[in-house]
Protein backbone atom coordinates (compact mmCIF):
# COMPACT_ATOMS: atom_id res chain seq x y z
CA UNK A 1 0.00 0.00 0.00
CA UNK A 2 2.73 2.39 1.02
CA UNK A 3 4.32 1.82 -2.36
CA UNK A 4 1.34 3.26 -4.09
CA UNK A 5 0.61 6.25 -1.94
CA UNK A 6 1.18 9.35 -4.05
CA UNK A 7 4.46 11.11 -3.53
CA UNK A 8 3.91 14.44 -1.94
CA UNK A 9 6.14 16.98 -0.34
CA UNK A 10 6.29 17.04 3.39
CA UNK A 11 4.56 20.09 4.80
CA UNK A 12 7.60 22.02 5.85
CA UNK A 13 9.49 21.46 2.64
CA UNK A 14 6.41 22.34 0.67
CA UNK A 15 5.75 25.63 2.37
CA UNK A 16 9.38 26.65 2.19
CA UNK A 17 9.42 25.91 -1.51
CA UNK A 18 6.21 27.82 -2.11
CA UNK A 19 7.49 30.79 -0.15
CA UNK A 20 10.78 30.83 -2.04
CA UNK A 21 9.05 30.49 -5.40
CA UNK A 22 6.51 33.12 -4.48
CA UNK A 23 9.23 35.55 -3.53
CA UNK A 24 10.94 35.13 -6.89
CA UNK A 25 7.64 35.63 -8.68
CA UNK A 26 6.94 38.77 -6.69
CA UNK A 27 10.35 40.14 -7.56
CA UNK A 28 9.63 39.48 -11.22
CA UNK A 29 6.29 41.24 -11.00
CA UNK A 30 7.89 44.16 -9.26
CA UNK A 31 10.47 44.39 -12.03
CA UNK A 32 7.71 44.36 -14.62
CA UNK A 33 5.94 47.10 -12.73
CA UNK A 34 9.11 49.20 -12.73
CA UNK A 35 9.54 48.61 -16.45
CA UNK A 36 6.01 49.75 -17.07
CA UNK A 37 6.50 52.91 -15.09
CA UNK A 38 9.93 53.96 -16.28
CA UNK A 39 9.87 52.37 -19.68
CA UNK A 40 12.49 50.02 -21.10
CA UNK A 41 15.13 52.58 -20.34
CA UNK A 42 15.78 50.71 -17.08
CA UNK A 43 16.65 47.57 -19.01
CA UNK A 44 19.79 47.01 -21.02
CA UNK A 45 17.78 46.83 -24.20
CA UNK A 46 17.98 49.60 -26.77
CA UNK A 47 17.22 50.30 -30.39
CA UNK A 48 19.84 47.84 -31.60
CA UNK A 49 19.43 45.05 -29.05
CA UNK A 50 15.66 45.09 -29.02
CA UNK A 51 15.24 41.67 -27.46
CA UNK A 52 17.24 41.00 -24.33
CA UNK A 53 17.35 38.93 -21.19
CA UNK A 54 13.57 38.47 -20.87
CA UNK A 55 13.57 36.82 -24.29
CA UNK A 56 16.42 34.50 -23.33
CA UNK A 57 14.40 33.31 -20.35
CA UNK A 58 11.08 33.20 -22.15
CA UNK A 59 12.39 31.29 -25.14
CA UNK A 60 14.24 28.84 -22.93
CA UNK A 61 11.08 28.17 -20.95
CA UNK A 62 8.87 27.83 -24.00
CA UNK A 63 11.27 25.63 -25.94
CA UNK A 64 11.86 23.41 -22.91
CA UNK A 65 8.13 23.27 -22.26
CA UNK A 66 7.81 21.58 -25.59
CA UNK A 67 10.86 19.38 -25.08
CA UNK A 68 9.88 18.08 -21.70
CA UNK A 69 6.88 16.45 -23.33
CA UNK A 70 9.32 14.11 -24.95
CA UNK A 71 8.91 11.99 -21.89
CA UNK A 72 5.16 11.70 -22.28
CA UNK A 73 5.37 11.20 -26.02
CA UNK A 74 7.72 8.27 -25.61
CA UNK A 75 5.28 6.93 -23.07
CA UNK A 76 2.00 7.28 -24.89
CA UNK A 77 2.90 7.43 -28.54
CA UNK A 78 5.64 4.83 -28.43
CA UNK A 79 4.24 2.86 -25.52
CA UNK A 80 7.19 2.65 -23.16
CA UNK A 81 5.89 1.95 -19.64
CA UNK A 82 8.77 3.59 -17.76
CA UNK A 83 8.04 6.80 -19.61
CA UNK A 84 4.29 6.40 -19.40
CA UNK A 85 4.47 6.54 -15.62
CA UNK A 86 6.23 9.86 -15.97
CA UNK A 87 3.91 11.41 -18.50
CA UNK A 88 1.77 13.34 -16.00
CA UNK A 89 4.80 14.99 -14.42
CA UNK A 90 6.09 15.90 -17.87
CA UNK A 91 2.73 17.40 -18.74
CA UNK A 92 2.67 19.44 -15.56
CA UNK A 93 6.20 20.73 -16.16
CA UNK A 94 5.27 21.66 -19.68
CA UNK A 95 2.25 23.70 -18.64
CA UNK A 96 4.25 25.31 -15.86
CA UNK A 97 7.10 26.38 -18.11
CA UNK A 98 4.78 27.54 -20.84
CA UNK A 99 2.97 29.72 -18.32
CA UNK A 100 6.25 31.12 -17.01
CA UNK A 101 7.66 31.82 -20.45
CA UNK A 102 4.52 33.44 -21.78
CA UNK A 103 4.19 35.65 -18.73
CA UNK A 104 7.71 36.93 -19.23
CA UNK A 105 7.12 37.58 -22.93
CA UNK A 106 3.92 39.40 -22.13
CA UNK A 107 5.29 41.51 -19.32
CA UNK A 108 8.23 42.55 -21.44
CA UNK A 109 5.96 44.12 -24.04
CA UNK A 110 6.11 47.87 -24.32
CA UNK A 111 2.38 47.87 -23.67
CA UNK A 112 1.53 44.76 -21.64
CA UNK A 113 -1.84 46.35 -20.92
CA UNK A 114 -2.73 45.76 -24.54
CA UNK A 115 -2.38 42.01 -24.43
CA UNK A 116 -6.06 41.79 -25.32
CA UNK A 117 -5.24 43.61 -28.54
CA UNK A 118 -2.74 40.90 -29.34
CA UNK A 119 -5.38 38.25 -28.83
CA UNK A 120 -8.21 39.94 -30.71
CA UNK A 121 -6.38 41.44 -33.66
CA UNK A 122 -4.73 38.69 -35.50
CA UNK A 123 -2.45 39.46 -38.41
CA UNK A 124 -2.35 36.18 -40.33
CA UNK A 125 0.94 36.95 -42.04
CA UNK A 126 2.72 37.27 -38.71
CA UNK A 127 4.57 34.26 -37.35
CA UNK A 128 4.37 35.95 -34.01
CA UNK A 129 0.60 35.92 -34.14
CA UNK A 130 0.62 32.24 -35.09
CA UNK A 131 2.79 31.59 -32.09
CA UNK A 132 0.33 33.24 -29.75
CA UNK A 133 -2.23 30.82 -31.15
CA UNK A 134 0.15 27.87 -30.91
CA UNK A 135 1.04 28.60 -27.29
CA UNK A 136 -2.53 28.88 -26.12
CA UNK A 137 -3.43 25.77 -28.08
CA UNK A 138 -0.56 23.96 -26.42
CA UNK A 139 -2.00 24.77 -23.02
CA UNK A 140 -5.33 23.27 -23.91
CA UNK A 141 -3.81 20.22 -25.57
CA UNK A 142 -1.60 19.40 -22.59
CA UNK A 143 -4.38 20.09 -20.12
CA UNK A 144 -6.62 17.73 -22.05
CA UNK A 145 -3.88 15.15 -22.12
CA UNK A 146 -3.35 15.40 -18.37
CA UNK A 147 -7.03 15.00 -17.81
CA UNK A 148 -7.20 11.84 -19.90
CA UNK A 149 -4.36 10.40 -17.88
CA UNK A 150 -5.56 11.33 -14.42
CA UNK A 151 -9.23 10.64 -14.82
CA UNK A 152 -9.74 6.87 -14.96
CA UNK A 153 -12.79 7.06 -17.22
CA UNK A 154 -10.82 9.05 -19.72
CA UNK A 155 -7.81 6.74 -19.84
CA UNK A 156 -8.69 5.21 -23.21
CA UNK A 157 -8.40 8.67 -24.71
CA UNK A 158 -4.94 9.33 -23.41
CA UNK A 159 -3.31 7.85 -26.48
CA UNK A 160 -5.01 10.10 -29.04
CA UNK A 161 -4.58 13.06 -26.70
CA UNK A 162 -0.91 12.16 -26.40
CA UNK A 163 -0.67 12.09 -30.16
CA UNK A 164 -2.24 15.52 -30.39
CA UNK A 165 0.28 16.89 -27.93
CA UNK A 166 3.07 15.14 -29.80
CA UNK A 167 2.13 16.81 -33.08
CA UNK A 168 1.32 20.16 -31.51
CA UNK A 169 4.63 20.51 -29.77
CA UNK A 170 6.48 19.89 -33.02
CA UNK A 171 4.53 22.65 -34.64
CA UNK A 172 5.09 24.88 -31.63
CA UNK A 173 8.85 24.49 -31.55
CA UNK A 174 8.96 24.85 -35.30
CA UNK A 175 7.00 28.06 -34.88
CA UNK A 176 9.50 29.36 -32.34
CA UNK A 177 12.33 28.62 -34.74
CA UNK A 178 10.43 30.23 -37.60
CA UNK A 179 10.19 33.51 -35.64
CA UNK A 180 13.90 33.82 -36.27
CA UNK A 181 13.96 32.13 -39.66
CA UNK A 182 11.80 34.92 -41.04
CA UNK A 183 14.34 37.59 -40.19
CA UNK A 184 15.99 37.26 -43.58
CA UNK A 185 17.99 40.45 -43.33
CA UNK A 186 19.76 39.44 -40.14
CA UNK A 187 22.93 37.47 -40.56
CA UNK A 188 22.40 35.41 -37.43
CA UNK A 189 18.92 34.30 -38.36
CA UNK A 190 16.96 33.84 -41.54
CA UNK A 191 18.06 30.28 -42.15
CA UNK A 192 15.89 27.23 -42.60
CA UNK A 193 17.98 25.17 -40.22
CA UNK A 194 16.60 27.03 -37.20
CA UNK A 195 13.28 25.18 -36.79
CA UNK A 196 14.81 21.68 -36.72
CA UNK A 197 17.64 22.97 -34.55
CA UNK A 198 15.13 24.32 -32.05
CA UNK A 199 13.24 21.03 -32.03
CA UNK A 200 16.31 18.99 -31.23
CA UNK A 201 17.52 21.47 -28.63
CA UNK A 202 14.10 21.39 -27.03
CA UNK A 203 14.46 17.63 -26.56
CA UNK A 204 17.78 17.98 -24.78
CA UNK A 205 16.77 20.90 -22.61
CA UNK A 206 13.41 19.36 -21.81
CA UNK A 207 15.03 16.11 -20.72
CA UNK A 208 17.42 18.02 -18.50
CA UNK A 209 14.60 19.98 -16.89
CA UNK A 210 12.65 16.80 -16.36
CA UNK A 211 15.63 15.18 -14.71
CA UNK A 212 16.15 18.05 -12.33
CA UNK A 213 12.48 18.12 -11.38
CA UNK A 214 12.28 14.36 -10.98
CA UNK A 215 15.46 14.09 -8.92
CA UNK A 216 14.39 16.94 -6.66
CA UNK A 217 10.96 15.48 -6.06
CA UNK A 218 12.40 12.07 -5.28
CA UNK A 219 15.06 13.54 -3.08
CA UNK A 220 12.69 15.69 -1.04
CA UNK A 221 10.34 12.75 -0.59
CA UNK A 222 13.24 10.50 0.31
CA UNK A 223 12.44 8.12 -2.48
CA UNK A 224 14.81 6.35 -4.78
CA UNK A 225 14.63 6.31 -8.54
CA UNK A 226 14.75 2.89 -10.16
CA UNK A 227 18.33 2.52 -11.47
CA UNK A 228 17.08 0.93 -14.65
CA UNK A 229 14.84 3.89 -15.44
CA UNK A 230 17.64 6.22 -14.47
CA UNK A 231 20.02 4.56 -16.88
CA UNK A 232 17.62 4.63 -19.79
CA UNK A 233 16.72 8.24 -19.31
CA UNK A 234 20.30 9.30 -18.90
CA UNK A 235 21.31 7.54 -22.10
CA UNK A 236 18.50 9.19 -23.98
CA UNK A 237 19.54 12.57 -22.62
CA UNK A 238 23.11 11.97 -23.77
CA UNK A 239 21.97 11.16 -27.28
CA UNK A 240 19.79 14.25 -27.40
CA UNK A 241 22.62 16.48 -26.25
CA UNK A 242 24.84 15.11 -29.00
CA UNK A 243 22.10 15.60 -31.57
CA UNK A 244 21.57 19.20 -30.50
CA UNK A 245 25.28 19.82 -30.67
CA UNK A 246 25.30 18.46 -34.18
CA UNK A 247 22.62 20.91 -35.25
CA UNK A 248 24.40 23.85 -33.69
CA UNK A 249 27.56 22.84 -35.53
CA UNK A 250 25.60 22.55 -38.76
CA UNK A 251 24.08 25.99 -38.17
CA UNK A 252 27.47 27.62 -37.81
CA UNK A 253 28.98 25.67 -40.68
CA UNK A 254 26.16 26.68 -43.03
CA UNK A 255 26.74 30.27 -42.02
CA UNK A 256 30.42 29.92 -42.77
CA UNK A 257 29.68 28.34 -46.10
CA UNK A 258 27.96 31.48 -47.33
CA UNK A 259 30.82 33.89 -47.74
CA UNK A 260 29.03 36.97 -46.53
CA UNK A 261 28.32 35.36 -43.17
CA UNK A 262 31.96 34.80 -42.27
CA UNK A 263 32.09 38.20 -40.63
CA UNK A 264 29.25 37.23 -38.38
CA UNK A 265 30.74 33.85 -37.55
CA UNK A 266 34.08 35.43 -36.73
CA UNK A 267 32.27 37.74 -34.39
CA UNK A 268 30.25 35.07 -32.62
CA UNK A 269 32.93 32.42 -32.44
CA UNK A 270 36.19 34.34 -32.29
CA UNK A 271 36.50 38.03 -31.66
CA UNK A 272 33.12 39.22 -30.43
CA UNK A 273 34.23 39.61 -26.81
CA UNK A 274 31.69 38.21 -24.42
CA UNK A 275 29.78 36.21 -27.04
CA UNK A 276 32.53 33.77 -28.07
CA UNK A 277 33.36 33.39 -24.41
CA UNK A 278 29.81 32.50 -23.47
CA UNK A 279 29.56 30.26 -26.51
CA UNK A 280 32.72 28.25 -25.97
CA UNK A 281 32.95 28.20 -22.19
CA UNK A 282 29.28 28.41 -21.28
CA UNK A 283 27.58 26.53 -24.05
CA UNK A 284 30.19 24.19 -25.43
CA UNK A 285 32.37 23.30 -22.47
CA UNK A 286 30.03 23.56 -19.50
CA UNK A 287 26.78 22.96 -21.34
CA UNK A 288 27.82 20.04 -23.53
CA UNK A 289 31.24 18.47 -22.99
CA UNK A 290 31.08 18.30 -19.23
CA UNK A 291 27.54 16.88 -19.10
CA UNK A 292 28.44 14.30 -21.73
CA UNK A 293 31.42 13.28 -19.64
CA UNK A 294 29.23 13.04 -16.55
CA UNK A 295 26.71 10.94 -18.43
CA UNK A 296 28.99 8.57 -20.28
CA UNK A 297 32.10 8.22 -18.12
CA UNK A 298 31.93 4.73 -16.63
CA UNK A 299 33.02 5.88 -13.19
CA UNK A 300 30.32 8.56 -13.14
CA UNK A 301 26.75 8.44 -14.41
CA UNK A 302 25.28 7.99 -10.94
CA UNK A 303 22.25 9.96 -9.87
CA UNK A 304 24.22 12.87 -8.40
CA UNK A 305 26.29 13.33 -11.51
CA UNK A 306 23.21 13.01 -13.73
CA UNK A 307 21.57 15.77 -11.75
CA UNK A 308 24.67 17.87 -12.13
CA UNK A 309 24.81 17.12 -15.83
CA UNK A 310 21.19 18.18 -16.22
CA UNK A 311 21.82 21.46 -14.46
CA UNK A 312 24.78 22.08 -16.74
CA UNK A 313 22.70 21.34 -19.82
CA UNK A 314 20.19 23.93 -18.66
CA UNK A 315 22.99 26.44 -18.10
CA UNK A 316 24.25 25.62 -21.58
CA UNK A 317 20.80 26.29 -23.00
CA UNK A 318 20.76 29.75 -21.47
CA UNK A 319 24.26 30.44 -22.77
CA UNK A 320 23.28 29.32 -26.23
CA UNK A 321 20.22 31.54 -26.30
CA UNK A 322 22.18 34.50 -24.95
CA UNK A 323 24.65 34.24 -27.78
CA UNK A 324 21.99 33.45 -30.34
CA UNK A 325 19.51 36.16 -29.42
CA UNK A 326 21.67 38.96 -28.09
CA UNK A 327 24.89 38.25 -29.96
CA UNK A 328 22.82 37.84 -33.09
CA UNK A 329 21.48 41.36 -32.73
CA UNK A 330 24.74 42.91 -31.58
CA UNK A 331 26.30 42.17 -34.94
CA UNK A 332 25.43 45.09 -37.20
CA UNK A 333 22.99 44.69 -40.05
CA UNK A 334 24.57 44.72 -43.45
CA UNK A 335 22.64 47.59 -44.98
CA UNK A 336 25.33 48.74 -47.41
CA UNK A 337 27.39 45.69 -48.37
CA UNK A 338 30.87 46.63 -49.52
CA UNK A 339 30.94 49.87 -47.57
CA UNK A 340 32.37 50.83 -44.25
CA UNK A 341 29.53 52.48 -42.38
CA UNK A 342 29.20 54.86 -39.44
CA UNK A 343 26.33 56.85 -38.04
CA UNK A 344 24.80 58.20 -34.87
CA UNK A 345 22.42 55.23 -34.79
CA UNK A 346 25.00 52.48 -34.44
CA UNK A 347 25.24 51.58 -38.12
CA UNK A 348 28.21 49.35 -38.75
CA UNK A 349 28.98 49.17 -35.05
CA UNK A 350 28.65 46.31 -32.61
CA UNK A 351 25.59 46.89 -30.45
CA UNK A 352 26.22 47.39 -26.77
CA UNK A 353 24.17 45.53 -24.25
CA UNK A 354 24.43 45.25 -20.52
CA UNK A 355 21.69 43.16 -18.94
CA UNK A 356 20.10 45.10 -16.11
CA UNK A 357 18.73 43.82 -12.82
CA UNK A 358 15.03 44.43 -13.59
CA UNK A 359 15.09 42.39 -16.78
CA UNK A 360 16.94 39.53 -15.09
CA UNK A 361 14.42 39.67 -12.26
CA UNK A 362 11.59 39.56 -14.77
CA UNK A 363 13.13 36.50 -16.42
CA UNK A 364 13.70 34.81 -13.07
CA UNK A 365 10.09 35.59 -12.24
CA UNK A 366 9.10 33.39 -15.17
CA UNK A 367 11.21 30.56 -13.80
CA UNK A 368 9.56 31.22 -10.43
CA UNK A 369 6.11 30.84 -11.96
CA UNK A 370 7.08 27.54 -13.53
CA UNK A 371 8.53 26.40 -10.22
CA UNK A 372 5.45 27.39 -8.22
CA UNK A 373 3.02 25.70 -10.57
CA UNK A 374 5.10 22.53 -10.53
CA UNK A 375 5.48 22.48 -6.76
CA UNK A 376 1.83 23.08 -6.08
CA UNK A 377 0.76 20.69 -8.82
CA UNK A 378 2.91 17.91 -7.45
CA UNK A 379 1.55 18.48 -3.98
CA UNK A 380 -2.11 18.82 -4.82
CA UNK A 381 -2.39 16.22 -7.53
CA UNK A 382 -0.74 12.89 -7.93
CA UNK A 383 1.81 13.78 -10.55
CA UNK A 384 4.72 11.61 -9.62
CA UNK A 385 5.50 8.11 -10.83
CA UNK A 386 5.17 5.45 -8.15
CA UNK A 387 8.32 3.68 -7.18
CA UNK A 388 9.67 1.91 -4.15
CA UNK A 389 10.55 4.26 -1.31
CA UNK A 390 14.13 4.27 -0.09
CA UNK A 391 13.16 3.20 3.42
CA UNK A 392 10.96 0.33 2.35
Amino acid sequence: MANHSPLRFKNRVFYTLVAAGGLVVLMGLYAAHMMEGHGHIITGMNNQIVWGMPHVFAIFLIVSASGVLNVSSIGSVFNKPAYKARAPLAGLLSIAMLAGGLTVLMLDLGRPDRIIVAMTRFNPTSVFAWNIFLYSGMFSAVALYLWTMMEKRMNPWSKPAGLLVFVWRFVLTTGTGVIFSFLVARQAYGTAILPPMFIVMSFAWGMAVFHVAQSSIYEWNEKLLDPYVQKRMKNLMGVLVIAALYFVAAYHLTNLYFARQTGFERFILLDGGVYPLVFWIGYFLLGNLLPLLLIYHPALGKSKSILFASLLIILGGFCFLYVFIIGGQAFPLSIFPGYQVTSSFGDGAIGLYQPSLPEIMLGMGGVGIAFLITTIGVRVLDFVPHELPKSA
Binding site: G110, V117, P124, F336
Partner: protein, 243 residues
Protein backbone atom coordinates in the same frame (compact mmCIF):
# COMPACT_ATOMS: atom_id res chain seq x y z
CA UNK B 1 -0.75 51.55 -66.57
CA UNK B 2 2.65 52.92 -65.93
CA UNK B 3 5.29 50.45 -65.05
CA UNK B 4 8.00 52.95 -64.31
CA UNK B 5 8.37 51.91 -60.75
CA UNK B 6 7.77 48.25 -61.11
CA UNK B 7 10.87 46.64 -59.82
CA UNK B 8 11.08 42.98 -60.55
CA UNK B 9 10.53 41.29 -57.28
CA UNK B 10 12.76 38.42 -56.48
CA UNK B 11 10.52 35.44 -56.19
CA UNK B 12 11.32 34.50 -52.68
CA UNK B 13 9.35 31.51 -51.58
CA UNK B 14 8.61 33.15 -48.28
CA UNK B 15 6.96 36.09 -49.95
CA UNK B 16 4.86 33.92 -52.21
CA UNK B 17 3.70 32.02 -49.23
CA UNK B 18 2.79 35.15 -47.35
CA UNK B 19 0.94 36.54 -50.34
CA UNK B 20 -1.73 33.92 -49.89
CA UNK B 21 -2.82 35.59 -46.70
CA UNK B 22 -2.64 39.15 -47.88
CA UNK B 23 -6.40 39.42 -48.32
CA UNK B 24 -6.98 38.48 -44.73
CA UNK B 25 -4.22 40.83 -43.64
CA UNK B 26 -5.97 43.71 -45.37
CA UNK B 27 -9.03 43.01 -43.27
CA UNK B 28 -6.93 43.16 -40.13
CA UNK B 29 -5.18 46.33 -41.16
CA UNK B 30 -8.15 48.34 -42.39
CA UNK B 31 -9.37 49.41 -38.95
CA UNK B 32 -5.87 50.56 -38.12
CA UNK B 33 -5.81 52.79 -41.15
CA UNK B 34 -9.14 54.18 -40.18
CA UNK B 35 -7.89 55.08 -36.74
CA UNK B 36 -4.81 56.72 -38.08
CA UNK B 37 -6.82 58.72 -40.52
CA UNK B 38 -9.18 59.79 -37.83
CA UNK B 39 -6.30 60.92 -35.69
CA UNK B 40 -5.45 63.23 -38.51
CA UNK B 41 -8.99 64.29 -39.30
CA UNK B 42 -8.37 63.05 -42.77
CA UNK B 43 -9.82 60.41 -45.00
CA UNK B 44 -9.60 61.39 -48.64
CA UNK B 45 -6.65 61.57 -51.01
CA UNK B 46 -5.11 58.37 -49.70
CA UNK B 47 -5.46 56.23 -52.76
CA UNK B 48 -3.58 53.67 -54.74
CA UNK B 49 -3.15 56.15 -57.59
CA UNK B 50 -0.48 57.72 -55.49
CA UNK B 51 2.66 56.10 -54.23
CA UNK B 52 4.75 58.56 -52.34
CA UNK B 53 8.47 58.17 -52.63
CA UNK B 54 11.74 60.01 -52.39
CA UNK B 55 14.79 60.10 -54.58
CA UNK B 56 17.93 60.97 -52.70
CA UNK B 57 20.93 62.25 -54.58
CA UNK B 58 24.00 61.48 -52.53
CA UNK B 59 26.24 63.55 -54.82
CA UNK B 60 24.98 66.76 -53.21
CA UNK B 61 24.62 65.41 -49.72
CA UNK B 62 27.31 66.98 -47.66
CA UNK B 63 28.47 67.19 -44.11
CA UNK B 64 25.31 68.64 -42.64
CA UNK B 65 22.34 67.37 -40.70
CA UNK B 66 19.65 69.84 -41.60
CA UNK B 67 17.27 67.05 -42.63
CA UNK B 68 17.73 65.35 -39.27
CA UNK B 69 17.15 68.59 -37.38
CA UNK B 70 14.06 69.39 -39.44
CA UNK B 71 12.64 65.92 -38.79
CA UNK B 72 13.22 66.20 -35.05
CA UNK B 73 11.56 69.58 -34.96
CA UNK B 74 8.60 68.58 -37.11
CA UNK B 75 7.91 65.37 -35.22
CA UNK B 76 8.84 66.47 -31.74
CA UNK B 77 11.81 64.15 -31.29
CA UNK B 78 14.36 65.02 -28.62
CA UNK B 79 17.31 64.81 -30.96
CA UNK B 80 19.16 62.71 -28.38
CA UNK B 81 21.71 60.29 -29.80
CA UNK B 82 21.88 57.60 -27.13
CA UNK B 83 21.06 54.03 -28.21
CA UNK B 84 17.65 54.36 -26.56
CA UNK B 85 16.68 57.62 -28.26
CA UNK B 86 14.45 57.65 -31.30
CA UNK B 87 16.09 58.60 -34.58
CA UNK B 88 13.67 58.61 -37.47
CA UNK B 89 16.29 59.81 -39.91
CA UNK B 90 20.04 59.59 -39.46
CA UNK B 91 23.03 60.62 -41.49
CA UNK B 92 25.11 57.61 -42.52
CA UNK B 93 28.73 58.02 -43.62
CA UNK B 94 29.87 55.45 -46.15
CA UNK B 95 33.27 54.50 -47.41
CA UNK B 96 33.64 52.16 -50.33
CA UNK B 97 36.00 49.45 -49.10
CA UNK B 98 37.54 48.86 -52.52
CA UNK B 99 37.97 52.35 -53.88
CA UNK B 100 38.02 54.40 -50.70
CA UNK B 101 35.37 56.77 -52.04
CA UNK B 102 33.38 58.40 -49.23
CA UNK B 103 29.84 59.62 -49.29
CA UNK B 104 27.04 60.44 -46.92
CA UNK B 105 23.31 60.01 -47.07
CA UNK B 106 20.20 60.31 -44.95
CA UNK B 107 18.80 56.92 -43.94
CA UNK B 108 15.29 56.28 -42.73
CA UNK B 109 12.30 54.02 -43.25
CA UNK B 110 12.39 53.03 -46.90
CA UNK B 111 8.60 52.68 -47.09
CA UNK B 112 8.85 49.26 -48.65
CA UNK B 113 6.05 48.09 -50.92
CA UNK B 114 6.60 44.64 -49.42
CA UNK B 115 7.40 45.68 -45.87
CA UNK B 116 8.71 42.90 -43.60
CA UNK B 117 7.69 44.98 -40.59
CA UNK B 118 4.07 44.73 -41.68
CA UNK B 119 4.36 41.02 -42.44
CA UNK B 120 5.60 40.18 -38.97
CA UNK B 121 3.55 42.56 -36.84
CA UNK B 122 1.23 40.35 -34.77
CA UNK B 123 -1.49 42.96 -34.30
CA UNK B 124 -1.51 44.77 -37.60
CA UNK B 125 -0.29 47.94 -35.89
CA UNK B 126 2.34 48.24 -38.61
CA UNK B 127 0.51 48.91 -41.80
CA UNK B 128 0.93 50.35 -45.25
CA UNK B 129 -1.40 53.08 -46.40
CA UNK B 130 -2.82 52.90 -49.89
CA UNK B 131 -0.38 55.64 -50.90
CA UNK B 132 2.58 53.47 -49.90
CA UNK B 133 3.48 55.13 -46.61
CA UNK B 134 4.30 52.60 -43.91
CA UNK B 135 3.13 53.62 -40.45
CA UNK B 136 2.70 52.28 -36.93
CA UNK B 137 -0.67 52.79 -35.33
CA UNK B 138 0.39 53.73 -31.85
CA UNK B 139 -2.98 52.73 -30.41
CA UNK B 140 -2.61 49.13 -31.52
CA UNK B 141 1.12 48.52 -31.19
CA UNK B 142 1.86 46.29 -28.19
CA UNK B 143 5.57 47.05 -28.23
CA UNK B 144 6.81 43.55 -29.03
CA UNK B 145 9.59 44.95 -31.27
CA UNK B 146 9.35 42.10 -33.74
CA UNK B 147 9.13 44.68 -36.53
CA UNK B 148 12.46 46.11 -35.41
CA UNK B 149 13.97 42.66 -35.67
CA UNK B 150 12.52 42.25 -39.15
CA UNK B 151 13.36 45.63 -40.68
CA UNK B 152 16.50 45.27 -42.81
CA UNK B 153 17.26 48.99 -42.62
CA UNK B 154 17.24 49.56 -38.87
CA UNK B 155 14.62 52.17 -39.53
CA UNK B 156 12.60 51.83 -36.36
CA UNK B 157 12.92 53.14 -32.84
CA UNK B 158 11.26 52.01 -29.66
CA UNK B 159 10.13 54.67 -27.21
CA UNK B 160 12.06 53.72 -24.09
CA UNK B 161 10.90 56.52 -21.80
CA UNK B 162 7.78 58.51 -21.03
CA UNK B 163 7.37 61.40 -23.46
CA UNK B 164 6.64 65.02 -22.72
CA UNK B 165 5.63 67.95 -24.89
CA UNK B 166 4.30 65.97 -27.78
CA UNK B 167 3.13 67.52 -30.98
CA UNK B 168 -0.63 67.14 -31.33
CA UNK B 169 -0.57 65.95 -34.93
CA UNK B 170 2.28 63.45 -34.43
CA UNK B 171 0.99 60.70 -32.17
CA UNK B 172 3.79 58.98 -30.23
CA UNK B 173 3.84 57.00 -27.02
CA UNK B 174 6.05 55.24 -24.52
CA UNK B 175 6.30 51.51 -25.10
CA UNK B 176 5.47 51.56 -28.77
CA UNK B 177 7.56 51.49 -31.91
CA UNK B 178 7.83 54.38 -34.33
CA UNK B 179 9.65 55.37 -37.48
CA UNK B 180 9.70 57.89 -40.29
CA UNK B 181 6.15 58.63 -41.38
CA UNK B 182 7.26 60.60 -44.42
CA UNK B 183 5.55 63.39 -42.47
CA UNK B 184 2.03 62.18 -43.28
CA UNK B 185 0.65 65.12 -41.36
CA UNK B 186 2.34 67.43 -43.87
CA UNK B 187 1.72 65.33 -46.97
CA UNK B 188 -1.96 65.16 -46.20
CA UNK B 189 -1.96 68.96 -46.14
CA UNK B 190 -0.23 69.07 -49.50
CA UNK B 191 3.19 69.88 -48.09
CA UNK B 192 6.52 68.11 -48.53
CA UNK B 193 8.20 66.03 -45.82
CA UNK B 194 10.19 68.28 -43.49
CA UNK B 195 13.54 66.76 -44.48
CA UNK B 196 12.96 67.30 -48.20
CA UNK B 197 12.04 70.90 -47.57
CA UNK B 198 14.99 71.51 -45.26
CA UNK B 199 17.78 70.17 -47.46
CA UNK B 200 19.76 73.18 -48.68
CA UNK B 201 21.02 71.25 -51.72
CA UNK B 202 17.68 69.81 -52.78
CA UNK B 203 19.16 66.33 -52.39
CA UNK B 204 15.83 64.85 -51.34
CA UNK B 205 13.24 64.84 -54.10
CA UNK B 206 9.77 63.93 -52.89
CA UNK B 207 6.96 62.93 -55.23
CA UNK B 208 4.44 60.49 -56.60
CA UNK B 209 6.13 57.40 -58.03
CA UNK B 210 2.90 56.30 -59.68
CA UNK B 211 2.53 59.47 -61.74
CA UNK B 212 4.65 59.09 -64.88
CA UNK B 213 4.78 62.86 -65.31
CA UNK B 214 5.96 63.70 -61.82
CA UNK B 215 9.43 65.14 -61.43
CA UNK B 216 10.58 62.14 -59.43
CA UNK B 217 9.36 59.69 -62.09
CA UNK B 218 11.00 61.70 -64.85
CA UNK B 219 14.27 61.79 -63.02
CA UNK B 220 14.19 58.10 -62.24
CA UNK B 221 13.53 57.38 -65.90
CA UNK B 222 16.52 59.33 -67.12
CA UNK B 223 19.05 58.83 -64.33
CA UNK B 224 20.37 55.77 -62.56
CA UNK B 225 19.06 55.13 -59.08
CA UNK B 226 19.09 52.15 -56.76
CA UNK B 227 17.26 50.67 -53.85
CA UNK B 228 19.23 49.92 -50.73
CA UNK B 229 19.59 46.14 -50.46
CA UNK B 230 17.65 45.69 -53.69
CA UNK B 231 18.47 41.99 -53.40
CA UNK B 232 15.85 41.67 -50.69
CA UNK B 233 13.15 42.51 -53.21
CA UNK B 234 11.19 44.82 -50.94
CA UNK B 235 10.49 47.44 -53.63
CA UNK B 236 11.40 50.42 -51.50
CA UNK B 237 9.73 53.79 -51.89
CA UNK B 238 13.06 55.51 -51.30
CA UNK B 239 15.67 55.43 -54.02
CA UNK B 240 19.25 56.61 -53.90
CA UNK B 241 21.64 57.96 -56.49
CA UNK B 242 25.37 57.56 -56.28
CA UNK B 243 25.70 54.38 -54.25
Amino acid sequence: MSDTNEISNTSEQRRQFLKTSVGAAAVAIAPGMLMFDMAHGKSEAVSGKVRWGMLINTANCEDCDKCVKACNKENGLSGGLSPTDSQWVRKVELKDMRTGRSLALPMMCQHCAEPPCVDVCPTGASFKRADGIVLVDKHICIGCRYCMMACPYKARSFVHEPLHDQKPDVPRGKGVVESCTMCVQRIDKGLQPACAEACPNKSILFGNLNDPDSEISNKMRTQASTQVRADLGLDTGLRYQGI
